[in-house]
Amino acid sequence: MATLLSIRGLTKAYPGVVANDDVSFDIGKGEIHALLGENGAGKSTLVKMIFGLVKPDAGEMALDGAAYAPAKPSDARRSGVAMVFQHFSLFEALDVAENVALGMENPPRPRDLARQIREVSETYGLPLDPTRTVGTLSAGERQRVEIIRCLLQNPRLLIMDEPTSVLTPQEVDILFQTLNKLRAEGTSILYISHKLEEIRALCDEATILRLGKNVGTCTPREVTARQMAELMVGSSFNAPEARAGEKGEVLLRTDKLSLPAPGAFGTPLREVSLEVRAGEVLGIAGVAGNGQDELLMALSGERLAPAGTIFFKGQDVSRLGPIGRRDAGLLSGPEERLGHAAAPNMSLTENAVLTGARREGLVQGGFIDWGKSKAFAEKVIERFDVRTPGPGTAARALSGGNLQKFVVGREILQSPDVFVVNQPTWGVDAAAAAAIRQALLDLAAKGAAIIVISQDLDELMEISDRFAALNEGRLSPARAVAELDIEKIGLMMGGAHDMEVAHVDG
């Protein structure tokens, strides 16, 4: 197979850390090449160098035999390199075509563009209406906007950063068909993912990064997921243990909890009823934007619910704010780490006070005991293996995975009776994710009730006792995980959504 992009000795150092150290590999024409690695392994930096967002300190790249050194993303695009980012950069109030035009160097006239969008979306099996407002689209559809924006520029190399993290299994299938079609036409794809099974199903070659170095290239179909994971982590890690045991009394129950949408593009909660017992993990699946955030805010007390809808140990806590619920023993962990679970510019010690103030006795007579707060932050750092110079570090200086370990650890160490957490392992490397899941299971084993809201179905299947899905703010009845397989779950998430539309007036 001919080589499209050849990377030789790329090195990039930041103060105190070498993000990429002498990385070399080749991407063939018409090849789907996986880039694997833990958080902080240097995948993002590498991709940013290929896309011209970061300039390498040393090393060179060649695209189709010619020297390639993009100084900025528009150079990369001109050379035929396009990228779909993990976080979309779309304007919710504009329609699809307008959003596409905003990302192009020389956008064609709106009418022509709409036609081109339709053509590309039909050719590659990505159904999308150019006149729809982006705010009304699901995460999967938004991703299509980004993909189509790239495809309109006829790229030779398409970079995709964790594309399936927001998709239902059915949407993943559609995406894979598109990618396979692109491969058949000779387009190369650099595919970044944590999901090993996905890489085995899709990719031709895989390059694995660890601590900034290329630690091996393999053909994913010929090795097991476990072998790849061990290359990535550098040692074997423990999968969470299954556990058995009797479930206790109902600790948290909601009764037809309805709340209007918080903003123009938020999701209302519609008659959400659930219950979770001591020692039990309830998994809540759903595609992003179907009410996960809203459910968490209603349970944490950030938004008060109508009286008589939320019961904690039989007491009505609907009208209690976050402090009252925390005092009672109902703790939560939001999805958005920076800005919601933690204040970016504040130190880890200060962020420990953020939720631990009362349960950990960090505040006495209104005054903060900074010594005790620092000790609590240090305890979280040590117990959850948070890699940071110390508790005085600003939250924003931590990598996503490390901060996630800190914010989840902060709640778990406060020994909640009920813990509600949204996306506990989002963007966290495999070893750390396993550690967080194990900590959740240990907490349940001690008699706490846990609600895990997640878009990672493998995760939910692994740790939940019962399982429900959110769509359009409605929660499906919970079922025992033993009765389900991933296909049925996919239908609960996506299929139920279609039925909803069909009888919305009925």
């Binding site: 300039k55 100084a71 900025k72 944490s300 007390g301 950030e302 704010g321 976050p322 402090i323 925390r326 939560s332 939001p334 958005e336 920076l338 800005g339 919601h340 679970a341 933690a342 204040a343 970016p344 510019n345 504040m346 200060e350 006070v353 953020l354 939720t355 103030a357 505040v363 209104g366 005054f367 903060i368 900074w370 570090t393 600003a394 924003r396 200086a397």
Partner: protein, 361 residues
């Protein structure tokens, strides 16, 4: 090509260096401006920064003025800085300062000519309440109707100025003033005269309160949970709500503190250095305090130093007008430059400059 690169965390060194750098840049550019005006630049700078404290002839008069001017600036700026930390932008301290002065003076004059020792404390409380009440208007409008506190508080300054005008011209006018606008002179009423506590230092009760406010604000922001909640609200409003902070309560708290402190500053001014309610006793301290708050990095100790520096430019500016014939507007420009350079150099606290070698975009 020069690029800005975000620092992983704010630089402590630059937090301290930027105000000093801003002062130096102001001196340099201010010197150029004075040179263009045909005045000797070095002498002008020396007159502004050095002579008020050390001139053999004038210093004995101007040195006490330092505390007289710095007192209200610090007192108001401390209150403002607490709100600014929470992202609540009270721009109308001038109005709260006026209303505090008018309310406090009115309460005092109602008891004229009482000699009770309780009267002055009562007036201080009334002044604080007057400023507090004036600040509650933007607070209520913001929390109930979602109006912007910047606009409301600023507009209320002009309302307050009109109330001040009517007070000095009619309902607080001195019956012994022969028809001239202006209230009774508090300097001639020993029970309520906010006189120098130590002769020739400029130290009056307002300065004492300013120092207490510096310490209290430091303790509040560094150690107390309410101070933590205020900072958290400014840094990350969603995280603050998650933590259990009620945003409306923070709005009331911050506007209340800054209004009360500004009101107190107004009362101390009107019973002390100004001496009486006149249509223009206020001299813009409420606006200058905004510069002081930022120049002091919203840090209580920084504000203390910034207040003294700002007072120095006031006094030095007057001296420069007197001795060198510099236009008054050029002194205001000079003060404006200080804020301009501070905000400009502030970038380096969160960013560092990268010089990319040899390539042009």
């Amino acid at each position: 090509m020069i690029r800005l690169e975000k620092r992983p965390q704010p630089s402590r060194l630059w937090t301290i260096v930027t105000p000093l750098l801003a002062v130096v840049l102001t001196m340099v550019v201010g010197g150029i401006m004075f040179a263009l005006l045909g005045k000797p630049p070095l002498e002008a700078i020396r007159t502004i920064f050095w002579d008020p404290l050390f001139h053999p002839q004038f210093a004995s008069y101007s040195r006490p003025q330092l505390l007289v001017k710095a007192g209200p600036l610090i007192l108001i700026a401390i209150g403002l800085s607490i709100g600014f930390k929470a992202g609540i932008w009270n721009i109308g301290a001038e109005g709260q300062y006026i209303m505090g002065a008018v309310t406090g003076a009115a309460v005092g004059l109602a008891f004229y000519p009482s000699e009770s020792v309780l009267l002055f404390p009562l007036m201080v409380i009334a002044g604080a309440l007057g400023g507090w009440a004036w600040a509650m208007i933007p607070a209520v409008l913001k929390t109930k109707l979602g109006t912007n506190e910047i606009l409301v508080s600023l507009m209320l300054v002009y309302v307050a100025e009109n109330i001040l005008a009517s007070a000095s011209a009619s309902w607080l006018r001195s019956p012994e003033g022969m028809g001239f606008p202006g209230s009774r002179n508090f300097k001639q009423w020993p029970a309520v005269h906010n006189d120098e506590l130590i002769a020739n230092t400029g130290m009056h009760w307002g300065v004492v309160c300013a120092f207490i406010a510096v310490i209290a604000a430091y303790v509040l922001m560094a150690r107390h949970i309410q101070g933590f909640n205020i900072r958290l609200t400014g840094e990350a409003p969603r995280a603050a709500r998650f933590s259990g902070v009620t945003p409306a309560r923070i709005v009331f708290l911050c506007l209340g503190i800054s209004g009360a402190l500004a009101g107190m500053a107004g009362l101390f001014e009107v019973t002390g250095p100004a001496g009486q309610i006149t249509i223009d006793f206020n001299s813009g301290y409420g606006f200058t305090a905004i510069i002081v708050a930022f120049l002091g990095r919203l840090n209580p100790v920084g504000i203390l130093l910034a207040g003294l520096l700002m007072a120095l430019t006031y006094i030095g500016g007057e001296l420069a007008q007197l001795m060198l014939g510099l236009p008054g507007a050029s002194i205001q420009l000079f003060q404006g430059m200080l804020l301009f350079f501070l905000l400009a150099t502030d970038v380096f606290t969160n960013y560092r400059i990268r010089f990319a070698k040899g390539e042009l975009a």
